[in-house]
Every structure is written in structure tokens, then in C-alpha cells.
């Protein structure tokens, strides 16, 4: 695999032709989100995406004419009942006469979409690209949209929680983590969400006791440890060095980005800590020159749809040794004022417009290093990791952004 340090290590080849290739640095100069809610009955699909796109353009102080191409992502088309909705949305996104590319990599899609857009700038195919991801879950029922009918799947599962709960249980058995760790994550993320005006859930009366007393949905995952079902969109404007120089506000610079995939099911698959996640993080760290993520990364926005995925991903991403992730959570390291804040935005546990959730992680990481995260800003954040995953813990996309341009 190739991004960064060892291009094309998979195939032997002469090295001379590659030395000339240098990627254009990629900057995030505009970010926009909708206020994520259970149902946006006041807007159409077009209205929803345009709201986020307009806010990203406003943030960058650019107009539609400044955009060369649009890269759009969302999770399955069945969630809204529109096949390839980018065709219908082309007008609303100012894409008429321009390229529009639709990405779909399951739950990781928001992150993957941003990475595809970043490649367009890095390859110097385009200078300024609008990237956007959305989901309007209220148009259908995502849980049943994910519960495939016979003959595709045996009727044993109901929604994503039913799929992931056994893997959480496996993590608990493997590490001996106390049963309360999940509730600590949910309590933290829901309190962080109170500082994020775009978060779906604003539970002002949240207490740890309430989380722990909430109904058990998929043992060991309780109701309050589960992501909500949201309508929302997130957009970013990515540009090159020249674009960043013109930007009115500080840019977030991309220092590394990667996608990795592995099959859904196979003998020997580790659902608790998938190899694809480890490989993806390693590729990003190699590109960004990060040797010790725990010390060198200031804040993490990771995809935690069920509370226990915070300690699981802390290990998978190399922030903690195997079996030790839950100790970071339990000791408060991942709190907003901790040593390694995780999901200061409130995370997926506080807003989950599925297809957009990965891009929100990427965008929130960028907001942190731009110093634009408002009340949930981590003081002095210089390097942030955005993380997304999807499918059966098999698709991963991540980027690392910094306040300074990458060394070229």
C-alpha cells in the first residue's frame, strides 16, 4: 500500500519517474454544518445540502463560481429512497457545468469523500473543491434499511447495534474493562455536545446515573450509549496553497490521509481491533511524521456510534496499548479538559446523520486546529485526527490536519 512514505511498495518498479511527482498541499478553508436534528421537515434534500454548502462557502468567503468541482458522499441510497441523488442535487450544489463525483464507502463515507476531494487538489486536477456529505434519516427508517431481507442475510439482526454489541462484549472479556466504562463515554460526549450548537442531542439534565439507568438495547449497549438518528449535512472547501493564501481565516492543513478496507467476514477477523484500522492509522502517521500519536496529537474526533468504541478505537489507533484503552477513558484523559480530548464536539453519540458523520469528524478536527471550534475548542490544538469507519468494522478513512502547512 502506498500513500505517503513508501509509494507503491506492493510492486517492484524503477524509482526514477516518481521523484518528480510532488503533491500539492491541501488546505481546509471553509467548513459548514447544519444543525443536526431528528427531522428537518422544513427543508428538502436539496435545501439541506445547500444550507451546509452555503455555510462552508461563507466561511471561506467564496462564491459558487469559485468552486471547480463537487465531491459528494452519503450512505445507502435507500435511507432517503432516492437512487444516486447527486444527479438531482447537482443544481442545488452549483455543480451544473462542473464535475460532481459521488462516493459511497458505507459509514466511513464522509471521511472517504473528503479524501477523494483532497486528491483532486493534491493531484492539481482542480484548485478549489467543495466536498459535502449528508443523510436525511427522517425520510426512512435507517435501522430497517440496514437490516437486509432474505436472501441477503439471515433475519437475526436488527440494525447496527445488533451487529456491534457482540464485538463490544468481546472487548470487555478480552480486556477485563469494568462494565461502567461505556457509560463514562456517553456521559462525557453528551456533556461535550452541550458546547456544540450543531449537535443533535442537547441533554441539559444528563447525569451519569441516568445513562446507567437507561434501558438496555443490545446488551451491553444501553439506550444512552447509542447514537441518535439524525438529519444533517456537512461541507468543506478544500483548496491549494494559493487558495489558502487568499483565505480570510486560518486554514487547516492536511498532513496525512488514508483509506483501508478488509472483508466483512473471514476466519481470523478481529472485530475488536480490525487490521484495516491499524493499517490506516499507520499510513496516516507515516505521512504526517507522527511517531507517538499519544504525545504528538492534541485532539481526536473519532467515529464512536456506540460508547464502547471509544476505548476500542483508542487501542486500534495506537493511542493506548492493547487492553489499556479503557483506562484512558476511565481516568479522564479523553475529557474535554483531559490530556487527549476525544470528541469534544459530542461525537457521533450526539449527532449521527450517517453519511455525514465521518465528514463531521474530519471537519471538527479541522475546526480545532483552525481555532474555530467555539465553546468546545481545545486550547492550543495544533494537530488533530479525524476518523471514520463503516460496514462490518471493515472500511476506514482518516486524516490528520495541522495548524501549519506540511513540509514540502
Amino acid at each position: 500500500m502506498s500513500e505517503g512514505g513508501a509509494p507503491g511498495s506492493g510492486t517492484p518498479r524503477p524509482g526514477a519517474s516518481r521523484a518528480a511527482v510532488s503533491k500539492e498541499p491541501v488546505a481546509v478553508v471553509g467548513i459548514g454544518q447544519t444543525r443536526h436534528v431528528a427531522a428537518r421537515r422544513d427543508v428538502s434534500l436539496a435545501g439541506l445540502v445547500r444550507e451546509a454548502a452555503r455555510r462552508a462557502l461563507d466561511d471561506a468567503e467564496l462564491s459558487w463560481q469559485d468552486i471547480d468541482a463537487v465531491v459528494i458522499g452519503k450512505a445507502p441510497d435507500f435511507f432517503e429512497g432516492v437512487m444516486m441523488p447527486e444527479l438531482y442535487l447537482a443544481d442545488a450544489l452549483g455543480a451544473v457545468g462542473k464535475p460532481i463525483l459521488r462516493v459511497h464507502t458505507a459509514g466511513s463515507v464522509g471521511g472517504s469523500t473528503a479524501l477523494v476531494a483532497a486528491d483532486l487538489v493534491a493531484a492539481r486536477v482542480h484548485r478549489t473543491v467543495l466536498t459535502l456529505a449528508f443523510e436525511k434519516q427522517s425520510e426512512s427508517n435507517a435501522m430497517w434499511g440496514l437490516s437486509l431481507p432474505v436472501p441477503f442475510q439471515q433475519p437475526l439482526l436488527a440494525g447496527a447495534g445488533g451487529f456491534f454489541a457482540p464485538h463490544v462484549r468481546a472487548y470487555m472479556r478480552r480486556t477485563g474493562a469494568p462494565a461502567t466504562v461505556g457509560s463514562l463515554v456517553a456521559y462525557k460526549d453528551r456533556r461535550n455536545a452541550l458546547k456544540n450548537p450543531y449537535a443533535h442531542l442537547h441533554e441539559h439534565d444528563i447525569t451519569l446515573e441516568k445513562v446507567q439507568a437507561s434501558p438496555m438495547l443490545w446488551d451491553p449497549v444501553r439506550y444512552s450509549e447509542t447514537c441518535p438518528s439524525s438529519d444533517g449535512a456537512c461541507a468543506m472547501v478544500l483548496t491549494d496553497r494559493a487558495g489558502a493564501r487568499r483565505a480570510p481565516r486560518p486554514a487547516a492543513w492536511m498532513h496525512g490521509g488514508a483509506m483501508r478496507s478488509e472483508p466483512t467476514l473471514f476466519a481470523g477477523k478481529d472485530f475488536v481491533s480490525p487490521q484495516a484500522g491499524k493499517d490506516c492509522a499507520a499510513a496516516v502517521y507515516r505521512q504526517a511524521g507522527v511517531a507517538d500519536p499519544r504525545r504528538e496529537i492534541d485532539v481526536v474526533e473519532m467515529y464512536v456510534p456506540f460508547s464502547w468504541y471509544e476505548p476500542m478505537w483508542l487501542e486500534n489507533l495506537g493511542f493506548a496499548a492493547p487492553g489499556e484503552g479503557w483506562k484512558l477513558t476511565e481516568s479522564g484523559v479523553t475529557e474535554l479538559d483531559g490530556d487527549l480530548p476525544v470528541n469534544p464536539s459530542g461525537g457521533v453519540l450526539s449527532a449521527n446523520p450517517i453519511g455525514a458523520s465521518g465528514m463531521i469528524r474530519f471537519a471538527e478536527a479541522a475546526l480545532q486546529v483552525r481555532g474555530q471550534a467555539g465553546e468546545h475548542q481545545v486550547p492550543g490544538a495544533r494537530r488533530a485526527l479525524g476518523h471514520a469507519y463503516g460496514g462490518g468494522s471493515q472500511f476506514f478513512s482518516m486524516w490528520l490536519v495541522g495548524a501549519e502547512p506540511p513540509a514540502t
Binding site: M1, S2, G4, P7, G8, G10, T11, R18, V21, K23, E24, S44, D66, D68, P76, D77, F78, E80, G81, V82, M83, M84, P85, E86, L87, Y88, A90, D91, V96, G97, P99, L101, R102, V103, H104, T105, A106, S112, L115, V116, D119, A123, R124, V125, R127, T128, G145, L146, L148, M259, R260, S261, P263, T264, Q275, A283, G391, G392, Q394, F395
Partner: protein
């Protein structure tokens, strides 16, 4: 819109080094998508002498709505053998756009090789009904206007404008199926009667056959491409553009997005001698020839095109693959490949391929 940075000449060279496709069929109920893909992927990788694990980037195109299930591409990944994990992405549209994403990845310099694949089983549902779900969900989709009816509107607009007539369309249909006789993968070939009207003015022969199938392409950069095959088909340029969705605001007799994509791909800098056009309906070939300024000297769809086999989501990728094969076997010096998506040619991609020397 800001200018495209850097002349294309400074870009990295990227070529098609292998192409494979299935023997397209009316119905493949007996195999899963992964089973449909597996031999095609093995064929393409075998031509390049590579194993899946040696590919730097993989990208695919498919549609959940054709498959009738969410996340249909996740199980298709089993045919690749993504273990150890691979760098991989997916587009929810024709595989030609997956090839575009992979081409961009190679241009960044972070990958030397890419595997692109696409598949579609149109037989899984009533494809004319399924495609109505692709339309504006508020104003158009509730009326269930099907894909043949919309194509018929376009054909009638062309006839009304004096750009073609039914006899000329029948000629396109006959030429495509005659050419397809030399294409072992085609589903319709040889003499095909015009048939009854499906939706006036389109007859059976003006419409594509419902088709299941898959295709795969291997891309490689620079010297890697030269090492992997004797005669790489170099992608000299590639671009894609979209038009407004509402048919009422478009001139259906023209395709400005195709023309713009062709301009950006450098198609007009020198004449091409062959073209693979993704025109599922005969009349759309007339629109595309006009937009691309292709005269009678240009060999159109020697493979038979989408009228001979239309495995949706793979049909556009197959056009690029067929154009590349024509270049690689010396049948074409400079070939144009086109792919489309959406109703009445809403979104279009153009690639220009050449052999050596430049």
C-alpha cells in the same frame, strides 16, 4: 471558476494496461455479484501479471438500487480478496467514475497501480421502474416516468429538430448489432429486427438489452505501465461534467456537458479515429456525435456499444476498456471513450486514449 492548474503535459502518464469483462447475460440469478466478478478480476489481474495484494489502489462502481440491497458493494469486495487490508474506495455510479477516481489517485503520485471494477445485475428488478427512483423525488419521481419514456422524449426532440429520423435510428441499431457479432461478450448481435414500438418513436432495437455483467481495468503509471504490458493505452486526458437535472430546462438535442468534458480532456486538440460512446438508446448516439463533432471518418462503437450489452454501472467502464483495447491492438491510434449517468445523458465523462509514441 478558476483555471485548471498546470498544463496537462506536466501530468504524470497513466495508462490502461489490462481490461476484462464478463460474457454478458440476460439473467445471472445463479451467481452472486462476487461470483460474477471473481473471474473478471482474475482475468484482468492475470493480464497485468499482478495479484490483488500488489495493487496500490482499488476502486469500484455499482448501485445499491440495482442490487436491491444496501451496502451491496461490501460483499462484492470478497471477490478482490482484500486481505491483508487494501487501500480501496467505491463510487455509487458507473465504474467509469471509479476509473476517474483511480486516475486522480495515480496522478497524486501516491500509487503506481490501480484496479478498477464495476458490476450490475439489471435482472434483479424491473429496471425501467428502478430508474425512476433516480429522478427528482419531489416533482418527477412521483410520476414514475420510466427510462425508455424519457429517452423517447429525447429521440422525438431530435426528430422534431431535423437531426435524425426513424430510418436513421434503425441504421444505428443495425450497425451496432452487426459490429457486435465480432464481440464475444455481447448479448445482442447479428441481424436484429427493428421490432415494435416500446415508447414511440423508439422500437425494441433502439433500446439496450437488459443485461447482467461486470468489467475490470488495471491502470498503471509511467514506467510501471511499460513494464506491465507491451502496449499501454495512455490516458491523455479525462474529464466529466454534469447538467441540470430537470429535463425541462435542458436542450435534449444537445449535450453541452459532453462537449465541455471533451474540451477539458483535450479531445478536440487532434482528431480521434475511433470512439466508444455510452449511448444506451440509438438517438443518444446522434446527440453525442454532434456534441463531440465526430464525422463519418470516426469509427463509432466497434464493440457494438451499449445496444449490444448494457450491464448498468459497468457499461461506461467497458467503453473505456474497449477503447483501450482498440489502441492496444493497434486498431486505433487515438480513441475517445465516453460514459454517461442519469436520465437523457445528464452527466458525461470523456477520456482520450493513445498508444506510443506521443
Amino acid at each position: 471558476m478558476s483555471a485548471t492548474p498546470g498544463p496537462a503535459a506536466e501530468r504524470r502518464e497513466v495508462a490502461v494496461v489490462a481490461f476484462a469483462q464478463s460474457d454478458h447475460a440476460r439473467d445471472t440469478a445463479e451467481v452472486s455479484e462476487a461470483e460474477l466478478l471473481l473471474p473478471v478480476l482474475q482475468d484482468a489481474l492475470g493480464q497485468a501479471g499482478l495479484r490483488a495484494g500488489e495493487i496500490d489502489f482499488t476502486c469500484s462502481g455499482s448501485s445499491d438500487y440495482l442490487a436491491g440491497r444496501a451496502f451491496s458493494f461490501t460483499m462484492a469486495l470478497d471477490s478482490v480478496g482484500a486481505w491483508p487490508p487494501i487501500a480501496e474506495s467505491h463510487v455509487e455510479t458507473d465504474g467509469a467514475w471509479a476509473l476517474y477516481e483511480a486516475w486522480v489517485k495515480l496522478l497524486t503520485g501516491t500509487a503506481e497501480t490501480a484496479l478498477v471494477y464495476a458490476y450490475g445485475k439489471s435482472s434483479s428488478g424491473a429496471v425501467r421502474d428502478v430508474l425512476t427512483r433516480q429522478l427528482d423525488p419531489y416533482y418527477l419521481a412521483p410520476l414514475w416516468p420510466d427510462s425508455v419514456s424519457l429517452a423517447a422524449l429525447q429521440a422525438q426532440a431530435l426528430i422534431d429538430a431535423g437531426d435524425t429520423d426513424e430510418a436513421a435510428l434503425a441504421g444505428i441499431a443495425a450497425r451496432a448489432r452487426a459490429d457486435a457479432a465480432a464481440n464475444p461478450h455481447a448479448r445482442h448481435s447479428g441481424p436484429v429486427p427493428p421490432g415494435e414500438y416500446v415508447v414511440r418513436p423508439l422500437r425494441t432495437a433502439d433500446c439496450p438489452p437488459v443485461t447482467d455483467g461486470a468489467a475490470a481495468v488495471v491502470l498503471a503509471a509511467g514506467d510501471t505501465a511499460r513494464r506491465l504490458c507491451d502496449r499501454p493505452a495512455w490516458i491523455r486526458g479525462m474529464d466529466h461534467r454534469v447538467e441540470a437535472h430537470a429535463l425541462g430546462v435542458r436542450d435534449l438535442t444537445d449535450s453541452p456537458s459532453t462537449r465541455l468534458a471533451a474540451e477539458r480532456a483535450g479531445a478536440f486538440e487532434q482528431p480521434v479515429d475511433s470512439a466508444e460512446l455510452h449511448a444506451p438508446f440509438t438517438a443518444q448516439e446522434v446527440v453525442l456525435r454532434k456534441a463531440l463533432r465526430l464525422d463519418d471518418r470516426v469509427r463509432i462503437n466497434p464493440s457494438g456499444g451499449a445496444l449490444a450489452a448494457n450491464p448498468m454501472m459497468a457499461t461506461g467502464l467497458i467503453r473505456i476498456g474497449e477503447a483501450a483495447q482498440a489502441v492496444r491492438r493497434g486498431a486505433s491510434r487515438r480513441a475517445l471513450a465516453h460514459a454517461t449517468s442519469g436520465p437523457c445523458l445528464q452527466q458525461n465523462l470523456v477520456a482520450v486514449l493513445e498508444g506510443e509514441p506521443r
